[in-house]
Symmetry: C2
Subunit: 342 residues, 2 copies
C-alpha cells in the first residue's frame, strides 16, 4: 500500500467559447482558465495529462457543420487526444503509473471511468508523446488508412497529399516499406525537400510552385496512380484523379482544401465509373479492433529506424490555442503536440 | 457424322458510320447493309446470332470520349452482346447446337475463335434471350454490383435509380430477397407503379414529379440510405447522397444523367469522409470469375418465380438502330433485345 499522493486543488483547463466564422479558427475561440481537480469515485481514475495532440480535424470538431460527431459544446473543455499517467486509481483495469492514451481533452488533470481511455501505452515504445504521433492516431491513421483502405500492392504508385505532414510522411514511408513507388504532394519547396531527403519519397511535387501540377504529376507518376491517400480534396485531388489507373483506390482522410463556400467543380462520377475506382472515407476511430496489430508493426518499424518522424512541441497547455491556429495554417513541422506536464 | 448445313453467302450487318454529336445518338449513325458469311477456319466456329442486346452503355462505346475501351471504329460492325447458336464448329470447345453468350455484334452470322464467347448457355435456363437479360450481363450487373460492391445486409435500406429499368428492377428484387428495405427512383408515375406492383419495391419515387425529391426520399427512407445502386449520377444522386448513413456504399454503375457539358456541382468529398462512405465504379466485365456462381443463384430465382423481369423485343437486325435510340430515350419497358434470327 502506497501513500496517497498530494494533489492540487485547481488546474488549468481550456474551454471552447466560440465557433469559427467562415471556417476561420482563431485563438480567441478558446479561453484558458482555472478548473477543479476532483478525487476519483469508485470505478474511476485520476489522470495527469502529459501531452495533448493537436489535429487538423479539430476545425471540424468545433464547427456547427455536419461532422463525425456532435460539435464540442460552447463552454466545455475542448476535446482532444492525450497521453497521461494514472495518478490515483479506483478502477480495476488501471494501476497507478499506467500510461494511457485517451480523449482526456485540453486540461491538466482528468477523471475517467475508462470509457474515454483507448488503450494503455507500452513503455517499451519510447517517450510517451510518441503515443500521440507515430504510435498514436496519427501513425494509426496512416497505417490503417493506407493498408486497410488503400490496399497498395508492391510495384504500385502511391500518391499522398500534405506529404510532409504528420500523417502524410508516415503514409509515404509505409508505402515504401511495402514496395510501392511513393509520390508526395506538398505546399513548399522546403516540404518537398523534406519528403525526398527525410521521408524517402521517390518523387515529390510542390503544388504551389505555380507551374503545371498535372505535368509535374505525369513526370512523377509515369505508370499512373494506383492509390491516392488524400488529405485535402479540391483542385490538387482533381489533378491526381485525372491520372488514376483502372482499379485505383482513393482514401479520403481529410478535406482541408474544402472550406465553407468551396466553389462547385466537375462531377467525378464518370471517372470513378470508367476507372472502376473506389473513393472511401476513412476515420481511424472506426478501426479500434485493428489497433493492437497495427501498433505492434508500427512500433517495430520505429524501433528499427525504418520510419522517421518529427515532433513539433508547444510548451504548456496555455499555448494550445495558438499552436492549433499555427497547425491549421500549415506552419508546424511534424506531429504537433503540447507538453502539458512539465 | 452429319451433313454440312447449307449456309447463305451474304448476311445483314450494321456498321457504325458516325459519332454522336453532343452525346446525341441517332439511327443515322448506323448503316444497315450486306456482308459476307465466311466459312470457319481451323479453331473457329460459325455462329448464327439469335438475339442482340441493346444497352445504355453503347452511348459510350460509340463516342470519342474516354471510356472503358477503345471506341468502336467508324466503318466497323457495331459491338454488342449476343446469344447465338453454333452452326459449324472447327473448335474443340464448342459443338454444333451449343448456344453461346458472347460479343458477336450487330450481325446475323459471326465467326469466332472463342475469344469473344463468354460462356455457354444452359438450355435448362429457358428461352435463349434470357441469357442477354436477367441471366446475362443485365442480371449479372444487378447481382454482382449489388451483392459484391454494395454488400447489403438484411434490414438495411437499398435505393436504386432507373428502378423500373432492366438492371434496376432486378437490383430491387435481389435486395428484397436479401431482406432489405428497397426504394426505387424512376422517371414517371407509370414506372413508379411498375416498381411497386411488378417488382415489389417497398417504396418508389418519381423524380420528375416536380415536387421536393428530398422530402420524398425522406419519406421513403425513414432510416436513411445504406446502399445506393446508382445508374444516373447528377442531381438525383445528390439528393440520395444527402441521406446516406455512416458506412454507406454507393455502386456507380452508370452516369446517364451526365452528358457532355454537365454543369459543375458541389464537391462530394466531405460527405464521403464524414459518412465514411464508399463510392465505387462497377463494370460487370471485370467480374467474369464470379459469373458461374451468380448465374446459378439467379437462374434458380428466375425458375422459382422469385424474380420478375420484362423483355422488350425489336424484330429484325435492321430495327436495332431505332431501338437503341428508343432505349436511350427511356421509352422501352424491360430489357431491350433485338430478335436477329426469325
Amino acid at each position: 500500500m502506497t501513500d496517497a499522493p498530494t494533489l492540487p486543488v485547481t488546474q488549468t483547463q481550456v474551454r471552447l467559447i466560440g465557433r469559427p466564422s467562415q471556417g476561420r479558427v482563431t485563438a480567441g475561440l478558446f479561453q484558458v482558465g482555472p478548473g477543479p481537480v476532483e478525487a476519483p469515485g469508485d470505478g474511476q481514475v485520476l489522470i495527469r495529462v502529459l501531452f495533448l495532440s493537436l489535429d487538423p480535424a479539430m476545425r471540424g470538431w468545433i464547427a456547427d457543420a455536419t461532422n463525425y460527431r456532435t460539435p464540442v459544446p460552447l463552454g466545455a473543455v475542448m476535446t482532444g487526444f492525450t497521453v497521461g499517467r494514472v495518478v490515483v486509481s479506483r478502477h480495476p483495469g488501471y494501476g497507478v503509473g499506467d500510461v494511457v492514451y485517451g480523449s482526456q481533452g485540453w486540461q491538466e488533470w482528468a477523471l475517467s471511468d475508462g470509457s474515454d481511455i483507448h488503450h494503455k501505452v507500452d513503455p517499451a515504445w519510447g517517450p510517451p508523446s510518441l503515443a500521440l504521433g507515430v504510435l498514436g492516431h496519427t501513425g494509426l491513421t496512416a497505417y490503417l488508412g493506407l493498408l486497410d483502405v488503400g490496399q497498395p500492392r508492391a510495384g504500385e504508385t502511391v500518391v499522398v497529399s500534405t506529404a510532409a505532414g504528420a500523417v502524410g510522411s508516415i503514409v509515404g514511408q509505409i508505402a515504401r516499406l511495402k514496395g510501392c513507388r511513393t509520390v508526395g504532394i506538398a505546399g513548399s519547396d522546403e516540404k518537398v525537400r523534406q519528403c525526398l531527403e527525410e521521408f524517402g519519397f521517390d518523387a515529390a511535387v510542390n503544388y504551389r510552385a505555380g507551374g503545371d501540377l498535372g505535368a509535374a504529376l505525369d513526370a512523377a507518376c509515369p505508370r499512373g496512380v494506383d492509390v491516392y491517400f488524400d488529405n485535402v480534396a479540391g483542385p490538387v485531388a482533381d489533378a491526381v484523379l485525372e491520372r488514376i489507373n483502372v482499379g485505383a483506390r482513393i482514401v479520403q482522410n481529410g478535406t482541408i482544401a474544402l472550406g465553407p463556400g468551396a466553389p462547385p467543380a466537375p462531377r467525378i462520377n464518370r471517372t470513378i465509373l470508367v476507372k472502376r475506382a473506389r473513393l472511401e472515407g476513412f476515420l481511424v476511430l472506426d478501426h479500434f479492433h485493428r489497433f493492437p496489430e497495427a501498433l505492434a508493426e508500427l512500433s517495430a518499424w520505429v524501433r528499427d529506424g525504418l520510419i522517421r518522424h518529427r515532433e513539433d512541441v508547444a510548451e504548456g497547455l496555455a499555448a494550445a490555442p495558438a499552436a492549433l491556429v499555427r497547425l491549421l495554417a500549415g506552419e508546424n513541422t511534424g506531429k504537433q503536440v503540447v507538453r502539458v506536464a512539465p
